[in-house]
């Protein structure tokens, strides 16, 4: 009797643990199946027509890449800097605890509140208007806790012996960090940053409220231009598609391209991350 319920429980947990993988796989193949026919060269390089129900999504693709790249350029250095401080220099005192607490707090702020903030502070307060710059800064606020967390973890994970050896050879602390710790933590930091990039690519509400909805028939050039990103575009046309029409394929195609972009960044970093975590932690992680 006991044996049977044991096996049952184990089976249940096994099934439960596969649910995330099944869900992710189902969603990806659902989009692939329905959207693959929409993705053509014309789709990727064309402009939206008829309010997005026909044509292509080039401005949105460029907008996405532009904003995410700019966001990372801002969030990565600050995140790595903060992570370095927390892992290397920070004494275990109240201030450090406060800093950690605020990082967690920032991480927990709903994206839409950050969007509202971006709107009042960046679009209106600083007078940047709906622009790529506003969007990138607001996105950077969102991603910052992640980059801090990732950097700190990666730096902490470097075995202390590395540092001792370097210091014993006469190197200063900063030189040690620069030439030893960063090098060892580099793979983890990079993969973590790439995961953060994935999050930035998928963010909708923040970008819509700070970068606006783009300029008709125009590809964003200056960082002060308003630009549309793929998730924003998807959201805007999602409510307007009739399930029986051609425009449905447009929406699926957009979702697929967005997903592809996201996966291109996330999957390699996840795989690399596992590989490197195993190298440093052994199999106990």
């Amino acid at each position: 009797m006991q044996r049977r319920s044991e096996i049952l429980i184990e089976a249940l947990t096994w099934v439960a643990s596969f649910i995330p993988a099944i869900l992710a796989g189902a969603m990806i193949s659902f989009l692939l199946f329905n959207g693959a026919s929409a993705v053509s060269w014309k789709f990727i390089t064309g402009f939206p027509e008829k309010g997005g129900l026909e044509g292509g999504i080039l401005p949105a693709i460029i907008g996405s890449i532009y904003i995410s790249a700019l966001c990372m350029l801002m969030a990565a250095p600050i995140g790595i800097g903060a992570g370095t401080y927390l892992a290397e220099y920070a004494p275990e005192n109240l201030f450090t605890k406060v800093v950690r607490f605020f990082v967690e707090l920032l991480a927990g702020i709903p994206s839409i509140v950050i969007g509202l903030f971006g709107y009042v502070f960046l679009v209106h307060g600083l007078g940047l208007g709906f622009s790529i710059l506003s969007g990138a800064i607001a996105l950077a606020f969102m991603i910052l806790p992640w980059t801090v967390r990732v950097s700190e973890e990666a730096i902490r994970a470097v075995p202390r012996d590395y540092r001792y050896a370097s210091l014993a050879l006469g190197a200063s602390k900063w030189k040690t960090i620069r030439t030893v710790v960063y090098v060892a933590a580099r793979p983890a930091i990079i993969t973590g940053l790439m995961l953060g990039l994935g999050k930035a690519i998928g963010e909708t509400a923040v970008v819509m409220m700070t970068a606006g909805m783009g300029i008709t028939g125009y590809i964003p050039v200056s960082p002060l231009d308003s630009a549309r990103t793929l998730p924003v575009h998807l959201y805007l046309i999602a409510g307007e598609i009739a399930n029986t029409s051609e425009s449905l394929k447009m929406a699926y195609g957009t979702a697929l391209v967005l997903l592809a972009l996201f996966l291109m960044v996330s999957i390699p970093s996840l795989m690399l991350r596992n590989y490197f975590t195993r190298r440093l932690y052994g199999d106990a992680g």
């Binding site: 402009f47 027509e49 008829k50 309010g51 129900l53 080039l58 460029i62 890449i65 532009y66 790249a69 700019l70 990372m72 350029l73 990565a76 590395y162 620069r178 030439t179 030893v180 960063y182 090098v183 060892a184 580099r186 793979p187 606006g212 909805m213 783009g214 300029i215 008709t216 028939g217 125009y218 590809i219 964003p220 050039v221 231009d225 308003s226 409510g239 307007e240 598609i241 009739a242 399930n243 029986t244 029409s245 490197f276 190298r279």
Partner: protein, 306 residues
Amino acid sequence: MKMGGGIISNRSLIAAFILVAAAMFFAGYLTSVLALSNMSQAGAKTVTKTVIKTAELNIRLNIAGSTTVTPIVEEAARRFSELYPGLKISVAAIGSGPGIKAVGSGEVDIGMASRDLKEKEVEQWPDLKPFRIAMDSIAIVVHLSNPVNGLTLEQVAKIFAGEIKNWKEVGGPDKPIHVITREKGSGTRDCFEHAVIKPFGKEISAEAMVQQGNPKVRAAVANDPLSIGYISLGFVDETVKPLKIDGVEPTIENVLKGTYPIKRNLYVITKGDPDPAELMFIGYLLSAEGQKIVEELGYIPLYSVS
């Protein structure tokens, strides 16, 4: 245990990172320049006028308002900026009411509306100047599979007021009616209420599902076999079925003849007299080319262009 990646120095990695990001910027810049030059070449070939090199101008026009007018203005903006590449026009479809507020308060340059200005609006912003760019009507639409072909005006009013709740009461199957309406700021909703609901002394039911904008109403009706909604005549396409009202089909001829009960004007609105860029664009909308766009998209042009 070997240290990770010791051969490439940190410095060169940082350099690589900055290079990649810069490359992304340049990619965006180059593609846009390329795309722009391609477009103006195509534009120059197909248009008989001379293309004015306005790339140095860098003018922005912000337009916002009615979702009914948006397709016209968007298509016109697209073609217009091919002619004048320095002109950047952004169009936001937020509804007639918010559009009028936006142009009145100066937040945008041009507003779009699918109804006449209300008294309160004229009082608050006396310098608003509406320009009629097209005419339009409103069609009552249902799902393609719905067997009902027509209703009386009173039936329409009762359905939207929530008094008739089942399709069987009007000749359809025994199923509940899903009523879809526009949001309160919509010019289309105002016209609909004015022409259909208010004459019978009723109000649109609070149970109705609200969809913001013509495209969403059309999509909602196209996806729900039990639904009924109202959209701009220009938005009727093969995904929905328009109903006859009192036996009259919603066609452009019937609207012009006056046999179809709903007719309205579409406007673009400026605050005060339009400045040169706005004037150019409005002129384009009123020109033969602009009116051709109106006709192509299914609205009623101000004068005959074919």
